[in-house]
Amino acid sequence: MKILYFAWLKTKLQMTAETIPWSEECRDTDNLVRWMKTRGPSFAEVFSDLEVVRIAVNQEYITGNTALGKEDEVAFFPPVTGG
């Protein structure tokens, strides 16, 4: 599963992308976020307030918990500020 981070999430985690093996722990976006929080202090901080983290699966915004497969691309980013 490919994971992407943008803007301040990327800065705080010091990582733009990573590939993680699919497991039961990350079978859907709710579980993936729960697992992310356990990966260390910077992950716990980044995922502490989900109001300021947007999630896209395969380049589409999700509206609720979304099932994940090993080929999926999941992106975490803050509210957008373009224009």
Binding site: L4, F77, T81
Partner: protein, 152 residues
């Protein structure tokens, strides 16, 4: 048409290209967003924009499709830059063309409002001491975007 690019663009040339050799267009509206030297009371010396390649193009295409379904548009263009930008440079251009002005005006307004809350771009400002700061979302932008939901 959607273009996501690092390079600067020429507003006049873009509008000329869109209307060239067409005699059916009655109204052209354009909006250009520029890099300004202040934000929330602080001085800004430069801007950098990050985006999500792939998703950016998809989101912009969806927004454009929505505008063309809602208004009578003969053509439309969205150009959005990413990367480093100097003060005064253009960041974004929206152009809409229609037989009469109202469709072009409203569609351009809509495109900008939706783009600001949906297209995955993130601004990072630089100040005089070289510090960088990720720009935060504005409630006024969310409100502006929501306004177009009621008449869907």
């Amino acid at each position: 048409m959607i273009r996501v690019q690092r390079d600067i663009f020429d507003i006049g040339m873009e509008i000329e290209a869109l209307t060239n050799e067409r005699t059916d267009i009655g109204a052209v509206v354009s909006f250009t967003g520029l890099v300004r030297d202040f934000n929330d009371g602080s001085k800004v010396t430069g801007l950098s924009l990050e985006h999500y390649p792939g998703m950016t193009e998809r989101e912009l295409a969806k927004i454009e499709e929505e505008a063309r379904a809602r208004w009578d548009l003969q053509d439309s263009l969205i150009i959005h830059r990413y990367g480093e930008m100097a003060l005064g440079e253009p960041i974004v251009l929206v152009v809409t063309a229609s037989p009469h002005r109202q469709d072009a005006f409203e569609a351009a307004h809509f495109l900008m409002d939706w783009l600001k809350t949906k297209a995955p771009f993130w601004k990072q400002e630089m100040n005089a001491s070289g510090k960088t700061n990720w720009v935060e979302e504005r409630e006024s932008d969310l409100k502006a975007a929501r306004r177009w939901n009621s008449d869907a």
